[in-house]
Amino acid sequence: MTKDECKQVVTDIIADIAPDEDLTNLKPDVRLRDQLQLDSMDFLDIVMELRKRYGLEVPEADYLQLASLDSCAEYLTPKFNALPTKH
């Protein structure tokens, strides 16, 4: 998975949990919280959906790594690529 693909995965999850937000002009280097109305419940949901859809675990201590799309990509892409491939 590339970093861009990873950003798309996160954007798709946000679109599902916050369908009332407009995601067309999300800036990858700006904190998500500063562009969207996302609270701690929503961030928990991003983590929960990553686990549900991809079996990917984000420990609570690492939630800060999900601040922006760029930081999500930095943090999550290696985790995605380390997942056992499903066949």
């Binding site: 949990i17 916050a18 009332d20 609270d39 419940m41 549900k52």
Partner: protein, 477 residues
């Protein structure tokens, strides 16, 4: 078939909070089952059929209504967390509501879903208080009311730092207490702030078909997410061993096990189910506040009686408003009138019949043990007393017998009805006075959600189920 005997999570009670918790847990892959003693879902916010009609219980109006695009409020959080589209609830806004005080309602404050209306009403009736009212509103807006570790303190004391007129103070407390306070005389400021936002800063709405629309949406989500439920299947005992709930014994004797148990039936009600070798301290006291409600079905919309503008009216005829368990069976001096026809359902939709509901404080003990003939006579007596009392706060009827002539049928619920159908001790709709924000119990894997966890109203009930499922179960993986 529901034949499983072990679940990741067992939920006791299929009310708003249990269903909301169930949706969250099932959505994230937990094997969940909701156990409900009654044959219908909804709990304190359900509906029942009587003489071919369906009556809502509990719900006068859904509080916390905000228009589309308003973010960061409880309604928005709830919709996101449960993956519900706003349109599914099909909410229609109130016309206007009133707080009417004095023997004939001479002191009034109108409010709508536009907060500026209440603000201008306060400025008109209490010009000397308006600055304080604005500062109080600002303090409430800034208050973090979902913190699970808030320390309780007196709302009356806080409000008096901003307002010096006891009439205005009482007029603001009256609706907030009637729509959710489990404590007499005063509220915790956190609860006051939640209710102030829910009623005044946000507002009232309801689906045309009432609470069943909301329940239908919740049930559909729950089923689609893979949740199970067993109806007419209450939990008789929670078997405890070494500080954990190890099994649930169902009413018909079967035992089931679960890693986590979430109980929505109330704190004292849950404590009573626990069977363990030792007592974990005295169970919390049941709440002291209960209510009666009269429901009058009319052959015409209330507007034809001149009652077309008000959706909800909160009334009180005494010099000071007293929110407390009455000594007698009912206290008809203050209460709440609801005219469900007076929501804005749009030009082409209206309820099939007129409905006039009136709610007053009641004393459970004075109803609980009456023999059947006396119970029926008391209902008749208080039905008439409530009607007379409430009419003082509505526009004068075109003729003195106009209401009686328009009446098709009536019904009334009492504290006894509440306990019979919901299992809540003492008919205490708002539960125990003491709330348990973190929902912990004497057993490490048994948690509370719903009324006694302390988020108020039906939006609060659903958020309670969501928060407890997140906090105790989903966050832990």
């Amino acid at each position: 078939m529901n034949s499983r005997t072990h679940y990741d999570v067992a939920i006791i009670g299929a009310g708003m909070s249990g269903l909301a918790a169930g949706i969250r847990l099932a959505h994230f892959g937990k094997r969940v089952c909701i156990f409900e003693r009654h044959h219908a879902v909804g709990g304190l916010n359900g509906f029942y059929s009587h003489g071919g009609r369906r009556f809502d219980v509990g719900l006068h109006a859904m509080t916390n209504y905000v228009r589309p695009g308003t973010k960061g409020t409880p309604l928005g959080k709830l919709l996101r967390q449960l993956r519900i589209e706003r349109e599914e609830f099909a909410l229609c806004e109130q016309r206007q509501s009133r707080i009417a005080f004095g023997p004939h309602g001479a002191d009034t404050l109108r409010f709508t879903n536009d907060f500026a209306v209440l603000e201008s009403e306060v400025a008109r009736r209490f010009p000397a208080q308006i600055d304080g009212f604005r500062r109080l509103t600002a303090a409430i807006r800034a208050h973090d009311d979902v913190a699970l570790d808030a320390v309780p303190h007196s709302a009356r004391q806080v409000v008096r730092e901003y307002l010096s007129d006891p009439l205005l103070e009482d007029m603001l407390f009256c609706p907030l207490m009637y729509y959710g306070s489990a404590t007499e005389h005063d509220m915790d400021f956190g609860q006051f702030a939640i209710m102030f936002k829910a009623l005044f800063l946000e507002g009232f709405a309801r689906p045309l078909d009432g609470v069943r629309v909301i329940l239908r949406v919740l049930l559909e989500k729950y089923r689609a997410a893979g949740g199970e439920r067993r109806m007419k299947c209450g939990v008789k005992h929670i078997v405890a061993h070494e500080g954990r709930a190890t099994a649930l014994t169902l009413d018909h004797g079967e035992d089931i096990t679960a890693d986590h148990v979430l109980s929505s039936i109330g704190a004292p009600e849950t404590a009573r189910l626990i069977q363990s070798g030792h007592r974990g301290g005295p169970p919390p006291a049941p709440g002291r506040l209960s209510f009666v409600e009269t429901i009058t079905i009319l052959d015409r919309p209330p507007a034809e009686l001149g009652w077309g503008s008000d959706t909800i009216v909160f009334f009180n005829d005494r010099p000071r408003f007293e929110y407390a368990r009455p000594d007698g069976p009912v206290d008809p001096r203050s209460g709440v009138i609801c005219l469900p026809n007076n929501f804005d359902y749009g030009p082409d939709a209206q309820l099939a019949e007129g409905i006039f509901r009136c709610t007053c404080l009641a004393n459970y003990e004075r109803w609980a043990h009456l023999p059947e003939p006396e119970y029926r006579a008391a209902k008749q007596h208080w039905y008439e007393a409530l009607q007379r009392s409430a009419q003082r706060f509505l526009p004068r009827l075109p003729a003195p017998d106009a209401l009686a002539r328009a009446t098709v049928t009536t019904d009334m619920f009492t504290p006894r009805t509440i306990t019979k159908f919901t299992g809540h001790l003492g008919g205490a709709i708002y539960g125990a006075a003491e709330k348990n924000r973190q929902g912990r119990t004497e057993l490490s894997n048994l948690y509370l959600c719903g009324t006694d966890q302390g988020f108020l109203g039906i939006v609060g009930a659903m958020l309670s189920g969501i928060s407890m499922a997140n906090y105790h179960i989903l966050k832990k993986g």
